[in-house]
Symmetry: D3
Subunit: 189 residues, 6 copies
């Protein structure tokens, strides 16, 4: 619909790309019906592209401990703190799908304290917000609170590591002025 | 010297690690004379370890455009904003070595506006601080200022991408309470 | 769809309400097909209800100077700063309708610096953000910048007064935990 | 005494005003001996003037639940947070009169934690400061603390609604650079 | 009038004090008609008392360069930023006397951007606010702006040094909960 | 090593100085082997110099209650909050000597929550950080917590007074761009 640019930096044509990156992009296009702009914007730097998606998949493409919906909740809530348009809009769509809930993404993005969360989700989101805003002062006592709330150490790591990964991702998206594909906005509403 | 723990989370023994990770650790030990704790702390999660160091090396182990010293300046100045003990102490040591300057790391960590920087370094550090504190409001006009100051678009990407990577790294270090090796503190003073 | 409460405070039944308030509510239901929860939540206090909507209509139901879409842009951008779920979701829907643009509300709510705005809209939104974040230090020189950008004094008043009205409205919605009607989320996407 | 302007925007002459607004102004002049500048500054917009004072009177001209002095304490403490010269000076004078206390207004404006407050007043002022600074994160648990401290739900609404109204009023005063009448400064010292 | 305590810490009786301190207190009582509480509160620590007033007098009891009124403007504006009740109330009284202006102290304490200041006073107050809020990033270029505005280097030092001294004084007053004498509030209104 | 200036303001030659100040400088040179730049920078204003060091010595040159190492911990942790290069570097060196700990200064300067502190030191540093960041809201209840943790009222005063003194000192150093002597950086590593 819109004709705005994908990134402030050069976006390579598909046929200029290394084979593995082109293949990854073609795969996501096949599955999603379109190529999310993050793939195009980061393809400008193939080595960084590969590391970025390896880290992303290690954290987001699994559901041991935290469910996939819980992982996306962390992304939306913390990306909203960093005012990251791409991550809030794109992962908001994914969250609506994963949680089968058309309202939760906007709730978490606008006011996470007023979102319809279970006690466990509340604990997860609150720690993610702590990690994005002030990770420096997190103490052992803070982790004990989470453990008493029923979270395992692996889940605590995941909350922190997902928040950390998107602290990077949000800044890359803001640096490149990465544009969310128009398709994401209305998906799964 | 100190007997404090390396991380809040489990640290695997070397012989429990996948071969490639053990090899990477042995290599750095050989080169440095000790194993920086970031290798041990992140080895808890092999897939994340691999992606982390792939991203790190793509950004930090090169000197096209930004010199290695300039890259480390970005790390120290932005990690200080995030109060990341591991990154300031470890990369402070590396910066002193790369810049052959025993004072610059402490200057950048404590008060980046009072550090002994060239005009080009000033521009680099100022944009890194902008990216760590408020990447959301960076506009095309901000990038034009950098270009007029002589920075190329590839250098601008690098400043932003290094800041973004350490926004992740700082949070991982704060999450795990990653302890800098005692060796770093006095190195290259 | 959801069965969550409309407000933390009592919500009167329609037949308990003063005639003028019940009539106002029936009118909006007829026009919109549902009763936006702000009418129900504020009906708890009839005198405040009447003054609130009188002020609202004086600022929002007109298009001299600022267009109706521009007025809604101010509401969405400033309500996002105040993390007001009701105002961002409800006025986001109205903005999509007024601006005939399915993307603009989410853009303004998440990152107003990256929204697709004309130069005039940019000036309007930037001053609204200044008024919500730091009205105290606004000087005559700030207003001169707006005048040089083509805004009339009546338009400047309207930007400030709309921001001021929603600074009140956002706090009332946060106080009452006012719930946006589910209908708003998907409207005009 | 001073010859400074009342507002940055046009101030209509009394005989240009609609009858009801002129009557309201003449009434306040009769009661107070002078016309507080807020009446003159807002008369620039008659519809907004009427709604503003209707909302003001609904919240401030009553003493069910919160006393009139308690209501003015909220105004002074929260207007000081917003650096609103008009509201702090004018309502400071009213507070000194209502509370029969020449010190309390300056105490609340400068350092509300050091003001001579009863336990009940302390609770009221603390919640008002929470509402002005961060209404978004107010939860049901926060309201329970107030209820346990002896406040009724109607009193809690009033604290929040008064804070909300003056969040609007402070921004209007800052927008217009509304000047407090010289008379207010020394009143009831 | 009030019977509240002077300080959270012990206040020595006059006849327990070292002779020089008792003499200093008797002198101020003779001149002012009462003993400002700062003398009583700090007398708890004679060595600190002597150094404090030596520093105070070196900066405040002179009028080379900055006038005495200008010096008090700096005190009131910066003490308000630090929410120091004692300094705002006591030095507000002194400022009203020095400037022969009953309004200026409240204006500077509540909203320094709206105070009735000359261009020179504007420059002085703005730099004082910069020094209290963010002295770390003050650069040579910032000082050049002041010089171009007509301030001498000695005046610039004085603005900074007075702000620095009251950054200490404000914290001592907040630590001790130092109570302004009731006499100050209404003085020179 | 470096040839950078000591201060932005004039630095008098030793033989231009009043006898007592020259004597003080010669004494410190004899003891330390070099003249710390704070002596040279402040000698520009003899009366302020004398008061500054009188206050400094009253707080720092004693070990009743707080040990000398504990006093330096307060200086380093709070000066880091104020981004004061001189104080962090110079007092970091003194702290390493006093505490016989080569790591503690960098730990406190970069992330005081991750420093190797005893429970008592933790309490001291936390209250110092509270005093530097927000002394205004310190209440009697806050002091009771410290007393319950085993601190005497004289120790509490000292924590607050040292923090207050360096709030002044940090601003003077930032004002003058006071340069730490190169000798401090590597001392006692």
């Amino acid at each position: 619909m819109s004709e705005h640019r994908v990134s402030r930096f050069p976006v390579p044509a598909l046929d200029e790309l290394p084979d593995d990156i082109r293949a990854a992009i073609e795969l996501v296009q096949e599955k999603s019906g379109f190529v999310p702009n993050v793939f195009l914007a980061l393809a400008h730097r193939p080595a960084e592209f590969r590391a970025f998606f390896a880290a992303h998949d290690a954290l987001m493409d699994q559901s041991d401990g935290l469910s996939k919906a819980e992982r996306e909740m962390i992304v939306v809530a913390t990306s909203a703190v960093n005012d990251c348009l791409y991550c809030v809009v794109a992962h908001g769509a994914i969250l609506r799908i994963r949680a089968k809930n058309p309202l939760i993404a906007d709730q978490l993005a606008v006011n996470p304290w007023k979102a319809d969360l279970s006690d466990r989700e509340r604990l997860i989101v609150d720690f993610a917000l702590r990690m994005v805003n002030d990770s420096a002062s997190v103490t052992d006592a803070d982790l004990d609170v989470l453990r008493q709330g029923g979270l395992t150490d692996d889940e605590i790591w995941d909350i922190g590591a997902i928040t950390a990964f998107f602290a990077m991702s949000n800044r890359l998206a803001n640096l490149t002025s990465m544009r969310p594909n128009d398709e994401f906005y209305a998906m799964a509403r």
